[in-house]
């Protein structure tokens, strides 16, 4: 199917290369193929429709990058949009000020709740927490025993219940008490699988929520889920107010379009993905990877990336010159951020960099997508003169910019600080400081290597 699709698209490209702007006509073929790709990835029908409509509106009249055909450009726009909709790296979890923080794990039958409870417990303990787990699945045969076995495997304590504790609420209440008494800071509650239309069992979850006051209600969904994903996710969210999603079984070849559907109907972030049956097969969710997977156009996407890189390389060279001449403006800053977003998060960019010296430190800096969007919005609200000379941005202008971008003056101040710092940092990089930072005598050699290395777009040094 993939071959087929890329062949089709190649044909589309050939016919359309060299047109300057996106029009209803030259976008049409690409959009049709994208629609099919999304549907085959199990993205909900309605979600696909809205997405396609919106892309059409957004892309119309846009200038086509010199290295891309209109179709490729449309695909790039769609992918960017998917990444945006899927959200940023959201593996952050909430914790209560008054421990234990209770996490309620919910979802349909067989989605992977019990397994994910174990994985999450392990992940938490690796990150300095002291979790306790409990299963309140009194229905499915050997469900509680299953969590018991897993807890032993990963060496995490479990509250297994006292004789006479037959109800989910009883088990949950005692488990919370046990967590408090034994100084456990997180309680993970594995619940029985249930259908979203099962009124009694959905009521039971609401009862548990009321009793436990969970800070996280994590909806566990199977990556292979089809069109029905919107219904179940929507209903679980309506009843419980889920706070995040764990997408399981991503180690297979399902395209995982359900991620988009679930995110769309609940608005809640995808936090983790399950990539196997073992307790360590658990990863943060990466929107960029998920988007490429949903589009299922591996080869085409990498082609587009290359093409974009080609375009960006020219820009990167210009950027370098600007830095030398001390002409790196806010406008350039914005371009850089835009380019960074195009190839994903700063995280993934940094992963491509050599892990030495100061760059190693940078690995630990988390930049979130929301932040980048805010920065771009602020710069968008400036006048060209302001962008070219940040020195003229006084208090009055700052207030105006904040208002125009829907942010606060503090946000604007912070951005300007960031910009001047970046400018300084990049200047020192380009001025050959890099070798020095890499340390000692070998520094020069390393810097030489770096110079030849293909640096990701947006890094003009």
């Amino acid at each position: 199917m993939f071959d087929n699709l890329s062949e089709k698209l190649q044909r589309v490209f050939k016919n359309l290369r060299g047109e300057g702007r996106l029009t209803a006509e030259n976008m049409d073929a690409a959009l049709r193929e994208i629609r099919v790709a999304l549907l085959e990835a199990d993205v909900n029908f309605r979600v696909v429709k809205q997405l396609i409509e919106a892309v059409k509106v957004k892309a119309m009249g846009e200038e086509v990058l010199q290295a891309l055909s209109p179709s490729q450009q449309v695909i790039a726009i769609v992918r960017d949009e998917l990444i945006k909709v899927l959200g940023s790296h959201e593996s952050k979890l909430r914790f209560s000020n008054d421990p234990p923080s209770v996490f309620l794990i919910v979802g349909l039958q067989g989605s992977g709740k019990t397994t994910s409870t174990g994985k999450l417990a392990r992940w938490l303990s690796k990150n300095g927490h002291r979790p306790l787990v409990v299963s309140v699945d009194i229905y499915r045969p050997a469900a509680r025993e299953q969590l018991n076995v897993i807890a032993k495997q990963i060496n995490i304590p479990i509250y297994f219940g006292a004789p006479g504790e037959a109800l989910p609420v009883d088990l949950a209440r005692s488990a919370k008490l046990e967590a408090t008494n034994s100084g456990r800071d997180v309680l993970l509650v594995d619940t029985a699988g249930r259908l979203h239309i099962d009124d009694d069992l959905m009521g039971e979850l609401q009862q548990l929520k009321e009793l436990l006051g969970p800070v996280e209600i994590l909806f566990v969904a199977d990556a292979m889920t089809g069109q029905d994903a919107v219904k179940s996710a929507e209903e679980f969210h309506k009843r419980l107010g889920i706070t995040g999603v764990i997408l399981t079984k991503m180690d297979g070849d399902a395209r995982g379009g359900a991620a988009l559907s679930i995110r769309h109907v609940t608005g809640q972030p995808l936090k983790f993905v399950g990539v196997g049956e073992k307790p360590d097969a658990f990863e943060p969710f990466y929107p960029d990877r998920a988007a490429s997977r949903i589009l299922g156009m591996g080869d085409i996407l990498s082609f587009i990336e290359k093409a974009e890189e080609f375009v960006d390389k020219k820009q990167a060279e210009q950027m370098q010159q600007k830095l030398m001449d001390n002409e790196f403006t806010l406008e350039d800053f914005r371009n850089q951020i835009r380019q960074m977003r195009k190839i994903g998060s700063l995280d993934s960019i940094l992963k491509m960099m050599p892990q030495v010296g100061m760059l190693k430190e940078l690995q630990n800096v988390k930049v979130d997508e929301g932040e980048m969007t805010r920065v771009v919005a602020i710069i968008d609200s400036m006048t060209p003169r302001e962008r070219n000379n940040h020195m003229i941005i006084n208090g009055n202008r700052r207030r105006r910019i904040a208002k125009g971008s829907g942010t606060s003056v503090q946000d604007v101040n912070q951005l300007l600080k960031q910009y001047t710092q970046t400018r300084k940092m990049m200047k020192s990089f380009s001025g050959g400081m890099l070798g020095g930072m890499l340390g000692g005598k070998s520094g020069g050699k390393m810097a030489g290597k770096l110079g030849k290395m293909k640096l990701p777009p947006g890094f003009g040094f």
Binding site: V36, L39, E40, A41, D42, F45, R46, V47, Q50, L51, A54, V55, E81, K84, V85, G87, L108, Q109, G110, S111, G112, Y139, R140, P141, A142, A143, E145, Q146, L147, N148, V149, I150, Q153, L195, H196, I197, D222, M224, T225, G226, Q227, D228, A229, S232, K249, G252, D253, A254, R255, G257, A258, H264, V265, G267, E277, G370, T373, R374, A377, G406
Partner: protein
């Protein structure tokens, strides 16, 4: 404040809420519109065909099967063979019936017991539960059953099957967790022979069809079975979760390749998912659908009926 094509994502959940209710509204309106259309109040036009496309794709039938059906309808409309929408329902029904033809075949009778039934599928599809239900059904038909706990991998999988054994009064042949599944199978088949039971039902660990080593393990189990009982396994049931989307087709292909699937059990049809991917599977692989699962209790297993299945797609 993050402006996406769907509106704002994080900072303004209200917009998302709005969109959400928008989806609901169209959905509610759609049913009525479709009913109007199908009760003959409307001519067949592009809008109606769009609605039909929505119905079929929403049932997970898939783009290509849906297109095939719609193309045939369009063709007949163009040739003026059908004019009003009331004929549409029977036409769609016909199309789907044609694809599902032969999918109603029951499990063939095995003249020389024990009949060996292997149950395979991806993780969490409902294999073990289905086995409990099958044991209960076969016993209800006056047959004797033996269960084989060949999922030695998943935590407490053996215990789960043992509970089903107790519930249905069926003996379970097991070994320690982590043992070779083929060894357990070997034991079970010998026990079945010695006890002269009618059916041996084999539970296997869930596995994604992309894991070649695990798929090879199923091939090995098949070989083991045929070494003990020449025609075994007589039936290989692929358990498919009705909520599964287009990946179901890949599951059917790969499991058929490695373990010679002879029939499908479609589980979790008591939810809102339609399980339409079996239409695509039937179209490509002509696999019969033996049973459907409609709940978590022993009695919640029904023979597949194409007619009512098709009717449920339009509910």
């Amino acid at each position: 404040m993050i402006q996406t094509l769907f509106g704002s994502v994080e900072q303004e959940p209200t917009l998302l809420e709005k969109l959400k209710s928008g989806v609901q509204k169209t959905r509610a309106g759609l049913v009525t519109r479709l009913e109007d259309a199908l009760s003959g109040k409307k001519e067949i036009d592009a809008d109606l065909l769009d609605e039909l496309e929505y119905t079929l794709i929403s049932a997970d039938i898939g783009v290509s099967t849906t297109n095939e059906i719609l193309d045939r309808i369009r063709e007949r409309v163009d040739r003026k063979l059908i004019g009003d929408a009331s004929e549409l329902r029977s036409l769609i029904r016909e199309q789907l019936l044609e694809i599902l033809e032969g999918s109603e075949r029951p499990m063939p009778h095995v003249f020389e017991p024990p009949a060996v039934v292997m149950v395979v599928g991806v993780n969490g599809a409902g294999k073990t539960t289905t086995i409990g239900k099958l044991a209960s059904r076969f016993q209800g038909e006056g047959r004797s059953v033996l269960l084989c706990a060949a999922d030695t991998f998943r935590a407490a999988a053996i215990e789960q099957l043992e509970v089903w054994g107790e519930r249905t009064g069926t003996e379970v042949i097991r070994q320690k967790p982590g043992s070779d599944p083929s060894a357990v199978l070997f034991d079970a088949l010998h026990a079945a022979r010695a006890r002269k039971v009618d059916y041996v039902i084999v539970d296997t660990a869930g596995r994604l069809q992309t894991k070649t080593n695990l798929m090879a393990e199923l091939e090995k189990m098949r070989r083991t079975a045929s070494r003990v009982i020449p025609d075994a396994p007589h039936e290989v049931l692929l358990v498919l979760d009705a909520t599964t989307g287009q990946n179901g087709l890949e599951q059917a292909r790969k499991f058929t390749e490695s373990s010679g699937v002879t029939g499908i059990v479609l589980t979790k049809l008591d939810g809102t998912a339609k399980g339409g991917v079996v239409v695509a599977i039937a179209r490509e692989l002509r696999l019969p659908i033996r049973y459907i699962g409609v709940g978590e209790q022993a009695g919640d297993l029904l023979p597949f009926e194409a007619e009512s299945f098709i009717a449920s797609l339009f509910e």
